[in-house]
């Protein structure tokens, strides 16, 4: 009898091995997570995506690998958990520019505050008199689609003089390009500057620009594109660490850029839900969609999976005056201090899964619910906010359910 028990136990073990696939946690649904590649990548592109994924999410910089000496975070993934929006823990602080004439505090380490430092060093401080603003890290998903758009497409929604009289006057932010920037066929130069697309103030022209700055300004990591440590008091290099430059290989930077270009767009959930359908109509009726433009189609792209694709980011990539409550008296490029780039709303409903279980919305995370974020809108968005406030409670819930489905 007992011998049979032994055999039964061993059999159980063997059956367990055979059935092991059934005993593993299931894969989350594709619309429940933000990470993962766009459909249609080739095998070699998948390999580069994977290399970029590792560099982005797994490569942690320590002092021995060049971290700092002044920094904000130790890895890309620290600010973008699951490729989603960031948490106040890694909110960036920018300082030193309060008008469109440029940053007056570059010699004091502007524009970004490195509020942390490796042992033995004191972190950077905001100089007296400099204005500042906090920027919550954005989600990464679908960025390649936004990058693939032409400047002409973006400009088609610009209305700087509000010629159509809707109270909305979206304008592009024109940015002086860094030395390593190479214009693509779809970029248009205006006085040597180009339209910024990424960042709260649209201060980064493309994903290489954004990535190089993040390595340097967020982690204190030098690259061939940005070979100096982030300066403190403007003295670049003097406070360098003991790690030889560049601290990250160009191939890693380019792999990260490829990863960001080929992250899938968030997949909308519950599209057939009646509340979501009703909420979407309210989103249009209240004028939200005038800035949060729903649909775009990419032109030809060097990545086939991004070519001629229709996608739904809910942004126009333009700057809008959002009123005095959201005016932090800090800006970048030619944006006014009250102007912010329309943030894409796709992936909004999954933000809590990357922000520690609660929302930290708007540019600095000050809104902890979608309702609160809407109510912070003013300036060009005042009319839409007022219409939202006039909705019944049930209608507001439908609108929020729609936004959470994105």
């Amino acid at each position: 009898m007992k011998q049979n028990l032994v055999l039964a136990a061993l059999s159980l073990a063997i059956i367990g091995l055979i059935a092991c696939q059934k005993m593993l946690p299931k894969t989350p649904d594709n619309d429940e997570i933000l990470d993962g590649p766009v459909d249609g990548l080739s095998n070699s592109q998948n390999a580069q995506f994977l290399a970029g994924d590792i560099a982005f999410n797994d490569e942690v910089f320590s002092p021995e690998k060049g971290l700092g000496p002044y920094f904000v975070a130790t890895s890309c993934g620290s600010c973008h958990a699951g490729d989603g929006k960031g948490h106040p823990f890694t909110t960036l602080t920018r300082f030193g520019q309060s008008d469109t004439t440029g940053n007056k505090y570059l010699q004091y380490g502007a524009p970004q505050l490195q509020n942390r430092s490796i042992p033995g060093y004191a972190p950077e401080q905001i100089p007296a008199g400099a204005s500042s603003a906090k920027f919550t890290p954005p989600a990464n998903t679908g960025l390649g689609f936004l990058e693939a758009l032409t400047d002409a497409q973006i400009l088609s929604n610009a209305d700087p003089n509000d010629n159509n009289g809707d109270g909305i006057s979206g304008v592009p932010n024109y940015i002086a390009p860094p030395s390593f920037f190479t214009p693509k066929w779809y970029h248009q130069s205006v006085g040597g500057k180009y339209i910024g697309r990424f960042g709260k103030k649209a201060a980064a022209i493309d994903l290489l620009h954004q990535t190089v700055n993040a390595y340097n300004q967020d982690m204190g990591i030098t690259s061939e594109y940005s070979p100096y440590e982030p300066g403190i008091n403007g003295i670049e290099g003097i406070y360098a660490d003991n790690v030889s430059e560049p601290e990250v290989e160009s191939s890693n930077v380019l792999n990260v850029v490829f990863y960001l270009r080929t992250l899938k767009a968030p997949v909308q959930r519950n599209q057939a839900d009646a509340a979501v359908i009703a909420g979407k109509q309210l989103f249009i009726n209240t004028g939200c969609a005038n800035c949060h433009v729903q649909q775009w189609t990419t032109p030809f792209s060097d990545i086939g999976a991004l070519s001629n694709k229709t996608f739904y980011p809910y942004t126009d990539l333009l700057l809008h005056d959002m009123g005095s409550d959201l005016d932090d008296n800090y800006t970048e490029g030619v944006a006014k201090t009250s102007e912010w780039r329309t943030p894409p709303l796709w992936g909004l409903g999954l933000s809590k899964n990357s922000q520690g279980g609660k929302y930290f919305l708007l540019h600095d995370g000050r809104a902890t619910s979608i309702d609160e974020a809407i109510k912070y809108h003013d300036g060009e968005a005042k009319k839409s906010k007022d219409l939202y406030n006039q909705l019944s409670e049930a209608e507001k819930q439908n609108l929020i359910k729609f936004l959470e489905s994105l």
Binding site: L5, L17, M23, S62, A73, G356
Partner: protein
């Protein structure tokens, strides 16, 4: 080259011994089960083989296992590994002078290290000197870690990632035991080399004490010239069980070099409590350990690296059959269950005042078969939840593990 030579020499020696196990020249010295042993005795309480009248005994153990696991639906497939092969050599130089070493080949020989190599001199049963490469007596697992003694394939996460078992260092110290009736009380105290900067300057993105294990120079010189102090006291009752309390602490960073101040002195301190007991009439074995770690992380660094950690495990092993099975005399079939926890960052975010997560919870049911007390065949199912720093939805990892571990 030297490592390879050492490996083949030891393997040849071991192979020769095993091949001659039946010879009258070789005799097995079984583990001493007659005395009231404690965790501190684990390094000597192992089976050894002795050749004729040679004053040297050898022994060792091998672990091999396979696993099929996956995280959030993504499987790495089936893999096989030999996590460690350990070889012990012991010698009684004089009646009260002993030498014992343990050389471990980890991950198929990728890492070879002297895990333990000390000489013990007994001045009095209550006062012994020990010097060499010693196992710091923090918790119980670090001292009592031989694979064949455990019913679980993976080592406890708190005992390997908060306490960096197996954690050994060059140093000296004293130990002793005092027995009275059914009680025995023991103490140990050592000064050794210790940790280094890498516990907060590593690519794990969290405070990670095991990073210091990569610094093999700790067997040659102290990283900062300040000794790591380890002390433990334990008490055991023959019927009730054993309880141990231990502390290990010291300065971990290089605060000064060439007379120049580089940083403030930063401490790392670990406190641990361990216990084990056997419920006599049903033979249920219960074993557990909990550790708290306090690390002085500069406030200007990043909260990604926690200044407090804690974790522990609780193992319950229930023999369900103990008799002759499948032709094996005195074999045992056990069911076992482990629950374990490790929190790598105990604290709250300065920015939000909310809890920092960064923890792992694991449940591990298992079955083990012991054809003899020297050998265990194990089958585990492991499920663990890992939550990131921010407290986002946990990633879930599960796996089937099968393997064996045996003394030889």
């Amino acid at each position: 080259m030297n490592r390879t030579l050492l490996f083949f020499t030891l393997t040849a020696f071991t192979g020769t011994s095993l091949a001659q196990t039946d010879s009258s020249l070789i005799k097995r010295i079984p583990a001493d089960t007659g005395k009231l042993h404690m965790n501190m005795d684990a390094i000597y309480n192992r089976p050894f083989l002795q050749m004729d009248k040679l004053p040297v005994s050898i022994g060792g153990y091998l672990e091999a296992n396979s696993s099929y696991s996956g995280t959030d639906g993504v499987s790495e497939g089936l893999s096989f590994r030999v996590p460690r092969l350990s070889v012990f050599i012991s010698s009684t130089i004089k009646k009260r002078i002993k030498f014992l070493s343990e050389i471990e080949f980890e991950e198929g020989g990728r890492e070879i290290g002297i895990e333990f190599a000390s000489m013990d001199i007994e001045l009095h049963p209550f006062f012994n000197l020990r010097g060499g490469v010693i196992l710091n007596p923090i918790g119980a697992f670090n001292q009592n870690h031989d694979g064949p003694k455990w019913e679980f394939i993976d080592r406890p996460i708190s005992a390997t990632t908060i306490i960096p078992s197996t954690w050994s260092n060059a140093g000296f110290g004293v130990f002793g035991k005092y027995a009275y009736n059914k009680w025995v009380w023991a103490y140990e105290a050592y000064l050794t080399n210790g940790f280094d900067n890498t516990i907060i300057a590593n690519d794990k993105n969290r405070t990670w004490l095991p990073s210091s294990k990569q610094n093999t120079e700790r067997f040659d010189e102290s990283f900062n010239g300040v000794p790591l102090v380890t002390a433990k006291t334990a008490i055991r009752h023959r019927k009730i069980g054993e309880v141990g309390i231990s502390w290990m602490g010291g300065i971990y960073n290089k605060f000064m070099e060439d007379g120049l101040q580089l940083d403030a002195r930063r401490r790392v301190d670990l406190f641990a409590i361990d216990f084990n007991t056997t419920i006599s009439h049903i033979n249920t074995y219960i074993n557990g350990e909990w550790v708290w770690a306090m690390i002085d992380v500069p406030v200007t660094y990043t909260q990604q690296f926690g200044n407090k950690q804690q974790g522990g495990f609780l193992d319950i092993v229930q023999p369900i059959i103990k008799r002759k099975m499948l032709g094996w005399e005195k074999s045992t079939l056990n069911i076992a269950f482990r629950t374990e926890y490790a929190d790598y960052n105990v604290g709250i975010f300065k920015e939000t005042g909310e809890n920092i997560s960064d923890h792992i919870i694991a449940l591990v049911p298992g079955i083990s078969f012991r054809p003899s007390q020297l050998t265990v065949v194990r089958f585990n199912y492991r499920y663990h939840w890992e939550t990131d720093l921010l407290g986002n939805p946990s990633s879930r990892t599960a796996g089937i593990q099968f393997g064996f571990s045996t003394y030889f």
